[in-house]
């Protein structure tokens, strides 16, 4: 009797348990040997609803032209890179996904991205891309991704405030900017100039004196030319009191600060244009190229590419998708509404963005822009810079001291890798 009970206990447990396990492992790979149709996944971060609609439209066009390929759009709305890295480690990542230029060198180094050189045809016309954006995803003559769009930075200025202050033209040089900031500032309610004290927004200023923020993959921003170039930002905040960061006036970013009328000028990118249109439709503003520093034009550029997962099982189909989305046709649909600027010169010309009153200043910056990217260690360097720069910005300690500490810490962390 006892033995029988034992057996039955065992079998019941086994049944219960195996049913649990079966429930977990529903992950059969659809090998699609018989059916022609393949499904590929595309991962990206979400945008605003109209952006999402536009992307869906581009994908629908693609599916129509390639009836044997189904594209599944997978939106990762938060912590995109964390999710992506975890999925890549687990072998569950999408076939095609977005990759910010900022993260590209690190990911290329690990070898999880498919080299795309052998897929590229003459028809794809690689020469058509804006060069700085294309180079951002290239390593040793190998392309790992093609930029889908980009934005540079430009000076946004409030026309009404300029008129009231009797200023006819946006500032052309950094000295002028500092001068007019004084005229435009009104106590602590309104600042002449709004700035985000982050390396991503300041790198071109930091390097304007000939210094290098990153040198041979290591932090190098505590050097004299970089400190000298950044000092005016700190001075303008502490001495002139005509410059503020968004949180000081209760805004979360420059566009909001500008829209609320708490800053007469900000330096922002293309993303601010649809935002201001939606949120502050009454605002009268113009854009101009970023003021010259030491007689030199400079700005930042931010770009994102489509890359292919090396572990993808449908590489041919994945390339079809990439080549369509970054091709002339797909890019034209995607950038037609102006949420992002096309990285192909021919598309930019066709859509007329170089003549657009608000976007021409952004397009003009493309050839001389510094792409926000450097060695794989840039995330570490940025984190340390941002953290310590703010203490100098707030006047808690001298800039050179803060940056020296930040550099030391960054390089220590880099050595760890």
């Amino acid at each position: 009797m006892k033995a029988k009970k034992w057996v039955s206990t065992l079998s019941i447990t086994a049944i219960v348990f195996s049913s649990v396990l079966v429930g977990c492992s529903s992950n059969d790979k659809n090998s699609s040997d018989d059916g022609e149709k393949v499904e590929i996944t595309l991962s990206g971060w979400g945008g605003n609803p109209s952006e999402k609609k536009l992307l869906q439209q581009t994908l629908d066009d693609f599916e129509e032209k390639h009836p044997n390929i189904d594209v599944k759009l997978d939106i990762i709305s938060d912590q995109y890179m964390d999710v992506m890295k975890t999925r890549l480690i687990g072998g569950e990542a999408a076939d095609v996904f977005y990759l910010d230029a900022f993260e590209a060198p690190g990911l290329i180094k690990t070898g999880v991205l498919e080299p795309l050189n052998e897929y590229v045809t003459d028809e794809f016309d690689i020469e058509d891309f804006e060069k700085p954006m294309l180079e951002a995803f290239k390593k040793d003559e190998t392309y790992y991704g093609f930029p889908k769009d980009y934005s540079t930075l430009a000076l946004f200025y409030n026309k009404k405030m300029f008129e009231e202050a009797g200023i006819s033209e946006p500032p052309k040089t950094w000295e002028e900017l500092r001068q007019v900031s004084k005229q435009l500032t009104d106590g602590t309610d309104r600042f002449g100039f709004g700035v985000a004290p982050e390396l991503a927004r300041l790198q071109y200023i930091a390097e304007s004196d000939g210094g290098d923020v990153v040198k041979e993959g290591k932090a190098n921003f505590a050097t004299e030319p970089v400190i000298d170039a950044l000092q005016p930002i700190v001075d303008q905040h502490l001495e002139d009191k005509t410059l503020a960061e968004p949180s000081e006036v209760g805004a979360s970013w420059g566009g909001e600060m500008f829209g609320q009328g708490k800053a007469a000028m900000v330096i922002e990118g293309n993303w601010a244009i649809p935002y201001l249109e939606d949120t502050f439709p009454e605002l009268e503003y113009g854009t101009a190229e970023v003021p010259q520093i030491n007689g030199k034009q400079s700005t930042m550029a931010y770009t994102v590419a489509y890359v292919m997962n090396k572990q993808s099982e449908h590489k041919e189909a994945a390339w079809e998708l990439i080549s369509y989305l970054t091709g002339k046709e797909g890019m034209e649909t995607w950038t037609s509404k102006g949420f992002a600027l096309p990285t192909r010169k021919s598309v930019a010309e066709k859509l007329g963005y170089d003549e657009d009153p608000l976007r021409s200043a952004l397009v003009a910056g493309a050839p001389y822009a510094t792409v926000w990217q450097d060695s794989p260690n840039l995330p570490i360097i940025t984190n340390n810079f941002n953290n310590q720069f703010i203490s100098a910005y707030l006047g808690e300690r001298p800039l050179d001291e803060a940056l020296k500490d930040a550099q030391k810490q960054a390089n220590k962390e880099i050595k760890k890798n």
Partner: protein
């Protein structure tokens, strides 16, 4: 001889039966609790590269040694300890006072019990976002301070203030949870003790101090230990507050946030992150033991 008789066939069978019943639990616990812990310990002794061909390289105690020369690890530990030192006593005292007032038999105390408990029911992420609105430069808190004529602060952007802003928020949010525990314990205090004290001429404060507080000691020690463990693991609030970087000027960088950064933000430092996590576990362990020690000594007296 005795031993061999002890494990008779029947006993083995019964043991087998028992373990079979327990198997699902042992398996799940092993897979999701014990397994990860052992794996984390293993990781902490290795140099780990997960992305693009997983590789482990045994480095011994190298990861642990690095903690001592890591400036950010020291800052995060300092922040966390400061946080624990302020938040644990404050929330414990606040919880006790709240519970005592609710137990005093005032009118409408059921209503207030619900109101006080509300913050605990809200998710901490949502609470943090709401507080960030209130902490905004032009937000509710600064407006109130202005009306009363007190100085206003840049709660989120000022390195000297940011961590304190999180403290205030957390004390407010966690105290009610411990208040409920105190409230349950307060019901257990025999009324006769208070009566006896009254006969001896004790006033309300004396009754609270000499009867309520000592009587609640076991509960207090539970509350303090839970508080220490909870506050040492501060992550979500400072993560949301700083947008993940522990800024401004590393002022909201906590140990767990730093672990997260090393594990997921920078590539190839998973082993070091695991070492930090184990170091944190040791710190919490030691802090709890110290707390227990204090408790024992007092109860002797």
């Amino acid at each position: 001889m005795r031993n061999s008789r002890k494990f008779s066939k029947r006993m083995l069978r019964e043991a087998g039966q028992g373990y079979t019943f327990m198997f699902p639990v042992i398996f799940t616990l092993g897979l999701f609790v014990i397994g990860p812990i052992l794996y984390a310990i293993y990781l902490s002794f290795n140099d780990v590269q997960l992305l693009g061909g997983t590789s482990y390289e045994f480095v011994g105690l190298e990861n642990f040694k690095e903690i001592f020369s890591d400036y950010r690890a020291q800052v995060s530990l300092k922040n966390t300890i400061f946080y624990v030192a302020i938040v644990v006593p404050s929330q414990t005292i606040l919880a006790l006072v709240l519970a005592a007032t609710l137990n005093a038999g005032l009118k409408g105390q059921k209503f207030f019990r619900i109101v006080y408990f509300l913050p605990t029911l809200t998710s901490s992420a949502v609470l943090t976002l709401i507080f960030m609105w209130m902490y905004n430069q032009n937000g509710l808190i600064n407006q109130l301070l202005k009306i009363v004529g007190l100085p206003t602060y840049n709660w989120i952007g000022d390195p000297a203030i940011a961590l304190k802003a999180i403290m205030i928020m957390n004390i407010w949010a966690t105290a009610p949870f411990f208040m409920v525990i105190y409230l349950a314990a307060l019901q257990d205090i025999p009324e006769s003790l208070y009566e006896a004290a009254e006969l001896d001429g004790a006033n309300a404060i004396q009754k609270f101090w000499f009867i309520t507080v000592p009587y609640l000691k076991p509960v207090t020690s539970f509350v303090v230990i839970m508080g220490i463990i909870g506050t040492f693991q501060l992550f979500d609030q400072s993560y949301i507050f700083s947008g993940g970087d522990g800024g401004p000027n590393n002022s909201t960088l906590t140990v767990v946030l730093l672990i997260y950064q090393y594990a997921f933000k920078s590539l190839g430092t998973m082993g070091y992150a695991a070492a930090l996590a184990i170091a944190l576990a040791i710190v919490i362990f030691v802090a709890t033991i110290i707390q227990r020690k204090f408790d024992k000594e007092e109860s002797l007296y």
